[in-house]
Amino acid sequence: MIVVNYIAAMILFALGLYTVLTRRNILKIVMGMSLMEASGYLFLLSLAYRNGSTAPVLVTPPHGQSPARLADGNVADPVLQNFCLTAIVIGVAVTGVFLAVVVRIAQHYRTLDADRIRDMRG
């Protein structure tokens, strides 16, 4: 049933995209981007999952197994979890820069309306 997670992640992604495409409030656009980011985490962790698997940790193996044998057992994919960590760091970094820019825009334009923040067109 993990496919439900995949689809949910993609729908979340599309919802975030919808926000970015339609909302005029730039803070809402930032929230839409965060939603897309979060859908990425859900997608990655769902991809890492295997039916009935345990976490990729070798410290307390289930009884009857040694840590060395656990490596061959049924565990979630550590490489994808690594990607998820990277994605989280990127998400934090991007959100920080986003918010700094939004505050500066509010100071200079006195509005958060994307339709009024278009000095440059044509």
Binding site: M1, I2, V3, Y6, I7, A9, M10, I11, F13, A14, L15, L17, Y18, L21, T22, R23, R24, N25, F43, L47, Y49, R50, N51, P56, V57, L58, V59, P67, A68, A71, D72, V75, D77, P78, V79, L80, Q81, N82, L85, T86, I88, V89, I90, V92, A93, V94, G96, V97, L99, A100, V101, V103, R104, Q107, H108, Y109, R110, T111, D113, D119
Partner: protein
């Protein structure tokens, strides 16, 4: 514009267009994910390899950390500089005005553009002055009550107090050292994937708790950009150095060159652990710089000719520290 005007409703054609386009993207992506394996496929060969090399080659019981800092450490190497780029970027965007010499054409263009964007701001509108007064009031030392402790019960809270009530202060005094220990434990022994990253986030939490509850004065002495920024940059340099030592001592960039201690001890993992500790420094200082940069963002970029008046000071680490360290004309 003293009050931000409410937005008009979104135009209908934009909603329809957004619906169609995001629906199309959803359809394409769902079509792609439907053909993916559904949790019944074996682990890919490289994930299996990551699991099997963790104990023998790294003496670590944590394969995710092993991938993050060890076998695919170069990705994390890049990620560190991604974080550095974000922190330096936030610092640049939230920076206070610095003295400049001579004529700078972009400033002239900026004044012209600002006039077009918001004419009121160039002259300094009432709105502008209010914001500046509010900022000046917040940073004014001595005029602010220390904490709401002496206020009668049931009175509305003091929003401009330096610190919170004794209850919160006592709680934070108890919790902060424990949290600090927990953060360090996560990096040193904690069997968490990521080591330095969650540890750094916990460190930020401690700083924020202290700042919010005990007031800016408590964090001010050590929250100076003049102190934290060199640590951050030094950490970045240390990460390059760890990689380069791998090249010099083991013949490949970011290879392990430290002896491997037994598993589940503080030094197991060799270069992984060193990397993780430096990452803790990077993440903690970086997040603190970014958060306090945002908090201390002043209002002083409007192009006025009397550029020396720095009214936009708030009780944030950045602008307070910069004021003392920055150059004077």
């Amino acid at each position: 514009m003293s009050q931000p005007e409410p937005f008009e409703r979104e135009p209908r054609h934009r909603l329809v267009r957004g619906l169609v386009l995001s629906g199309g993207v959803a359809a394409a992506l769902i079509a792609a994910v439907l053909s993916l394996p559904r949790g019944n496929n074996p682990l890919p060969g490289i994930a299996r390899r990551a699991m099997t090399v963790a104990l023998p080659d790294w003496h670590t019981t944590e394969p995710v950390s092993e991938v993050v800092y060890g076998t695919r450490g170069f990705d994390t190497f890049g990620e560190t500089f991604l974080l550095l780029a974000a922190v330096v970027g936030v610092g640049l965007i939230t920076r206070a005005r610095e003295p400049r010499r001579g004529f700078i054409g972009e400033q002239l263009a900026g004044r012209r553009e600002q006039r077009r964007t918001d004419p009121a701001q160039v002259q300094g509108s009432t709105d502008q002055r209010q914001a500046e007064q509010a900022e000046a009031g917040e940073s004014g030392r001595g005029r602010r009550p220390a904490s709401p402790d002496n206020e009668p019960l049931g009175a509305p809270g003091l929003e401009n107090a330096e610190a919170m009530t004794v209850v919160v202060r006592a709680a934070v005094r108890t919790v902060a050292p424990l949290l600090t220990m927990a953060g360090l434990y996560l990096v040193a022994w904690g069997y968490t994937p990521g080591g330095g990253f969650p540890g750094g986030a916990v460190a930020l939490g401690v700083v924020m708790l202290t700042y919010v509850s005990l007031g800016y004065r408590r964090v001010e002495p050590w929250l100076r950009p003049g102190v934290i920024e060199p640590i951050e940059l030094g950490g970045a340099l240390a990460i390059v150095l760890i990689g380069a030592l791998g090249l010099a001592l083991s013949g490949s960039f970011s290879a392990n060159f430290l002896p491997l201690a037994p598993a589940a001890t503080i030094r197991s993992g060799g270069v992984m652990q060193a990397f993780s500790v430096v990452e803790l420094v990077e993440v903690a200082t970086g997040l603190v710089l970014a958060v306090f940069g945002l908090l201390g963002m002043g209002h002083d970029w409007e192009p006025r000719d009397s550029g020396t008046a720095r009214t936009g000071r708030r009780a944030g680490g950045r602008s307070a520290g910069r004021g003392e360290h920055g150059e004077r004309p």
